[in-house]
């Protein structure tokens, strides 16, 4: 790791102020990606602004079907939340399968969404749930948030403070894990609210998380595990690597969509 200066922020405003002291600052929350990357000397921020001690960014509230999750909430808390379980168990299921227990107790939803790793789980939920990404200065709808591999609509010094969404009628998540990293080699989150179905795919797109119109249409017409089978999933635009080529990922998109619908019931 290259030398870096550590700052502990006491509030969101304090964090933005600390971040402004250098052009090479980075926010760190759970650090599950950033710290590992720094240890490999692949990232070298001059300053790290730690968001973990900002109380206002923590905690889960469920008001009717409105779910708000503080950006600093670790995955383990989401996984274990009875309040979320009551309205959107698919999100608890998703959170319970991120990384390993250590990661789930350190990594946060805000960090995961801000990082937008193309193989991370949370972006698929945010997109399929039509969630709002709440920042220190605005609210960004999910459809306008994710902007390609590790890219988002966030300004350099902008901080996600919460993720909010209305719990759908039904939702399900199915992921096929990379055998080595256990990240999603393909993960599909489906959500149905009234007659509207949203399907978001992570781990497969060469441009990061994306919605699949064909699957959404098919499931809108026929909310059934059988529906994805007849959908054409185009391998072009999907990632190819030593673990999975595009053709195989295209297959996984359909199979995981089917299993996500089965899980949603």
């Amino acid at each position: 790791m290259y030398a870096t200066s550590y700052h502990r922020a006491s509030s969101v405003e304090d964090a933005v102020r600390l971040h402004g002291h250098s052009e090479e600052s980075k926010y760190v929350s759970g650090g599950m990606t950033l710290i590992a990357t720094m240890k490999q000397r692949l990232a070298s921020p001059s300053d790290l602004v730690d968001l973990r001690h900002i109380g206002s960014m923590k905690g889960i509230s469920v008001d009717g079907r409105r779910v708000t999750i503080g950006a600093g909430t670790p995955h383990a808390e989401v996984a274990a939340s009875q309040a979320i379980m009551a309205v959107c168990p698919a999100l608890c299921h998703l959170a319970s399968h991120i990384g390993d227990p250590h990661v789930r107790h350190m990594g946060t939803i805000g960090g995961s969404v801000a990082n937008n790793d193309p193989a991370a789980d949370y972006p698929s939920a945010v997109l399929a749930l039509d969630a709002t990404v709440v920042t220190d200065r605005r609210s960004i709808p999910a459809d306008g948030f994710f902007a390609g591999l590790f890219e988002t609509a966030l300004a350099e010094d902008e901080i996600i403070t919460a993720i909010a969404f209305d719990a759908p009628d039904k939702a399900g998540y199915a992921k096929f894990a990379n055998p080595a990293s256990r990240y999603a080699m393909t993960g599909v989150f489906v959500a149905k609210t009234g007659g509207t179905v949203r399907v978001a795919v992570t781990g497969a797109g060469s441009d990061g998380v994306f919605r699949h119109a064909g699957l959404e249409q098919a499931l809108q017409g026929n909310w059934s595990p059988d529906a994805p089978g007849s959908v054409m999933v185009d391998p072009s635009g999907l990632m190819a690597d030593m673990h999975a080529d595009a053709q195989y990922r295209a297959n996984l998109v359909k199979v995981m969509a089917k299993r996500a619908v089965m899980a949603a019931g």
């Binding site: 790791m1 000397r41 055998p179 673990h243 999975a244 195989y248 199979v255």
Partner: protein, 782 residues
């Protein structure tokens, strides 16, 4: 033998310190004034070095010095060598290219060491390493064995035209060809044995300490054989004479073969300590381990197996190309030859065998022994072929094997080995019964009803362990003998130290070696200490690999104990005024047989050291040494059965049961043996389903350089194993031990691939059988 003797499930003595974080590993060692090293490594798979500029690096904060290969060469430090001479079939010796500890002319794989930076902290050393400026002229690279042999392939070493290291054969080519020509059926198959990274939990590390006042070196290192390390560094690399070089391998966190070899880092850190005047420590990080630890396997083979009309195997013909990487590592030449082709008879009576092996240089890290070392490659080849033959002949794979089993011993194979004992049918029967082989078709139907594809496969392995008779390996080209030493030191109060040349890096010697002594003398386990891993404490020894510590190392302890016992009996007889022939040792006492007259063990020990009243002419003390040189290899064997269920939608394989029936001869500690089998199975299953070293064939970059891309087996990848042991004691050593350290990794890959190919209905599948590859194999076009 008592509750702590041979056969007892004694909890491991060493685990308290390991489980509480109190183990003392090389990286835990601290020497006064110690500094930290970082190696500058090649980012290219193949390049000429035009120039190395260390000026900027030397000026970096905290930097003590930056040293390169020209300086190393000028100081007379030698090249790394391969210690096993193989001759090609035309009689020419193997073509060994120069492996410089620090390359200054040409780099030949990504990770090849070029310079060492010594600095106040490891961070500063690393910063400075990045500031070393090297002007490379990039050269084309080749990473795979068959392309490396083709005309026009990039050439690695001027000593080895066409990248061919040797073209070796064993067996009778004419008799084999005749039998194949006359066969009723010939099964032909191509076998690829995938390349693996060893990944011990503790990465390699070394601490070199030069004492100028004494002109003496101390080397702490992660070694499976510190004495061999000292011998090689002294005799070949010209680091220091043996009496001026102490090598200590303290607690070592796993080796699997990768810590047998001497690597550039030990040599360079010792030399750098002298150059800089400070102790120099280097600790590998995980990616450095992927890049620079010797890899395993990497064979491509063509096989023909001939049968007569009665389904008896009449011949086996094998043509193998083995990738040895960029340089010849210490024992690399022995692995695809004498540790591989000599096991190609398997458990079967095969009248004619011929194997041809070509080894090649490629722009990859050197390949050497990895858990099993040659024997997994032989077993995978043979057992995949046998299974394929059974399918082609339309007979049960169990019956085809049964028909061809060797049934009388000793049995001389056509490929050197002389099997001393075994009962292959006993393991086959035990495995089939444990797996409920007969009920499989019912389970297959049940899986099919759920949309799953179920398959079952077996593997009957044999391996040669307890390596090895020194004269025999000497005649085959080994540069060393493979005996073992032991010293049993009884202290004046009767407690005992056993010094062994074996080295424990996870095997549990501190428990099993103590069990041997406790059972023999009837003294408590706590009164026995096992000392190993330090060339200043233990006399010359050969270390631990090839499942040899029990069969060879403990046999040496038995010989030393024989001498200790004989002397103790003389003393006891003298004390009790009895005939020494009448003395027996029971429950920690020396007793006149058939009487109640005894003298406790500690009193005999005390008498030996007070020496007030010893038999006339007897020397004081109670300490004996012994060397044991085995008369033959040992031959553990067994039958493994894997049953899998495949999800055809994703190609994911679930192992629904795994049965291992092993004949290890006599067993010292069943719990430790089970642990060894579990670990071996995990590695074998890793090879079959998950693990693969992947170099980009164009650039030679290692794409699997971290656990993000190299799939190590995790607990949830593995089933609960069903184990059983059969026992035909080894007649060749005093304890009847065969060895158990490698069996799991040897027998399991073919059982799994046989099961998966059974499930998918064809043979077109290579390891690792990843979900993608299995899914692809299930597509109609495949």
């Amino acid at each position: 033998m008592g509750v702590e003797g041979i056969g007892a499930r004694v909890a491991r003595k060493e685990d308290k310190r390991f489980l509480t974080g109190k183990g003392r590993y090389t990286d835990d060692m601290v020497a006064p004034g110690m500094k930290y090293a970082c190696f500058v490594r090649s980012p290219h798979a193949h390049a000429r070095i035009r120039s190395i500029d260390v000026a900027a690096a030397k000026a970096m904060p905290g930097v003590i010095d930056v040293l390169d290969g020209k300086q190393l060469q000028a100081d007379g430090i030698g090249n790394l060598i391969c210690g096993w001479m193989i001759h090609s079939k035309d009689g020419s010796p193997m073509k060994m290219g120069a492996w410089r500890p620090l390359a200054h002319e040409t780099v030949r794989y990504v990770g090849d060491a070029i310079a060492i930076v010594v600095a106040d902290s490891s961070g500063e050393a690393r910063d400075a390493a990045e500031a070393v400026v090297i002007d490379f002229e990039e050269l084309p690279a080749v990473t795979e064995p068959l392309p490396a042999l083709e005309g026009g392939a990039p050439q690695l070493h001027p000593e080895a035209p066409g990248n061919l290291i040797f073209d070796w054969q064993i067996g009778d080519p004419e008799a084999t060809d005749r039998a194949i020509a006359a066969a009723a059926h010939v099964t032909e198959i191509e076998i690829i044995n995938n390349r693996l990274a060893p990944n011990p939990m503790e990465p390699r590390a070394t601490l070199g300490i030069y004492d100028a006042a004494e002109d003496h070196y101390t080397c702490y290192t992660t070694s499976q054989n510190p004495h061999v390390a000292r011998l090689v560094m002294s005799a070949f690399y010209n680091v220091a004479p043996e009496n001026k070089l102490r090598v200590i391998a303290p607690d070592v966190g796993g080796g699997f073969g990768s810590k047998i070899y001497i690597y550039p880092e030990e040599i360079v850190c010792l030399w750098a300590s002298k150059k800089t005047g400070v102790p120099v420590k280097w600790t590998s990080d995980r990616t450095e381990a992927f890049l620079t630890d010797a890899h395993g396997r990497d064979h491509v083979s063509k096989v023909k197996m001939a049968f007569d009309a009665d389904h008896r195997v009449t011949a086996l013909k094998v043509d193998t190309v083995a990738n040895l990487g960029a340089y010849m590592s210490l024992f690399s030449s022995a692995v695809p030859t004498y540790l591989y082709a000599t096991l190609l008879s398997g458990q079967y009576a095969i009248p004619a065998i011929h194997a041809n092996v070509r080894t090649v240089y490629t722009n990859t890290v050197p390949v050497d022994a990895y858990r099993g070392a040659g024997r997994p490659e032989a077993t995978y080849l043979l057992e995949r072929t046998m299974e394929t033959a059974a399918r082609e002949l339309g007979v049960s794979p169990a019956e085809l094997r049964r028909k061809n089993f060797i049934r009388s011993f000793p049995y001389q194979t056509p490929v050197i080995m002389n099997y001393d004992a075994g009962d292959y049918e006993a393991s086959l029967n035990a495995a089939m019964q444990a797996a409920d082989w007969a009920g499989f078709e019912g389970r297959r139907s049940a899986s099919a009803a759920k949309g799953k594809k179920r398959g079952i496969g077996m593997s009957c392995y044999i391996e040669a362990c307890g390596i090895a008779p020194s004269a025999a390996v000497g005649s085959l080209g080994a540069g060393v003998g493979l005996w073992e030493s032991a010293e049993v030191r009884v202290n004046a109060v009767g407690t005992i130290e056993v010094l062994t040349g074996s080295h424990s890096h996870g095997q549990g010697h501190e428990t099993t070696f103590a069990q041997l002594v406790a059972g023999r003398l009837g003294v408590p386990l706590e009164s026995i200490n096992i000392v190993h891993g330090d060339t200043d404490k233990v006399q010359m020894g050969m270390g631990t690999y090839g499942s040899r510590s029990g069969a060879v190392g403990m046999s040496a302890v038995v010989k030393a104990l024989d001498k200790v016992e004989a002397k103790a009996k003389k003393i006891a007889a003298h004390m009790m005024e009895a005939d020494e022939q009448d003395i027996v040792i029971e429950n920690g006492e020396l007793k006149i047989a058939g009487t109640d007259k005894t003298v406790p063990w500690f009193q005999v020990a005390l008498a030996a050291y007070t020496a007030h009243n010893l038999p006339a002419g007897m020397e004081p003390g109670l300490k004996e040494t012994a060397f044991y040189d085995p008369s033959n290899f040992t031959f553990p064997a067994g039958c493994y059965i894997a049953e899998v269920e495949i999800d055809p939608e994703t190609g994911k394989t679930e192992i629904v049961q795994f049965v291992a029936a092993d004949d290890f001869g006599n067993i010292i500690n069943p719990m430790i043996v089970e642990g060894q089998v579990h670990g071996g199975l995990a590695q074998g299953i890793g090879q079959a389903l998950l693990e693969n070293v992947h170099y980009d064939p164009q650039t030679g970059q290692l794409l699997t350089a971290s656990f993000m891309d190299y799939a190590m087996p995790r607990a949830d990848d593995l089933p609960s194993f069903t184990l059983s042991h059969q026992n035909t004691p080894c007649p060749g050593n005093p304890l009847g031990i065969k060895g158990c350290g490698e069996a799991g990794a040897i027998g399991s890959p073919p059982a799994l691939i046989n099961a998966i190919t059974d499930a998918i209905g064809h043979n077109r599948l290579t390891m690792p059988a990843t979900p993608m590859k299995v899914w692809q194999a299930l597509q109609p076009a495949h």
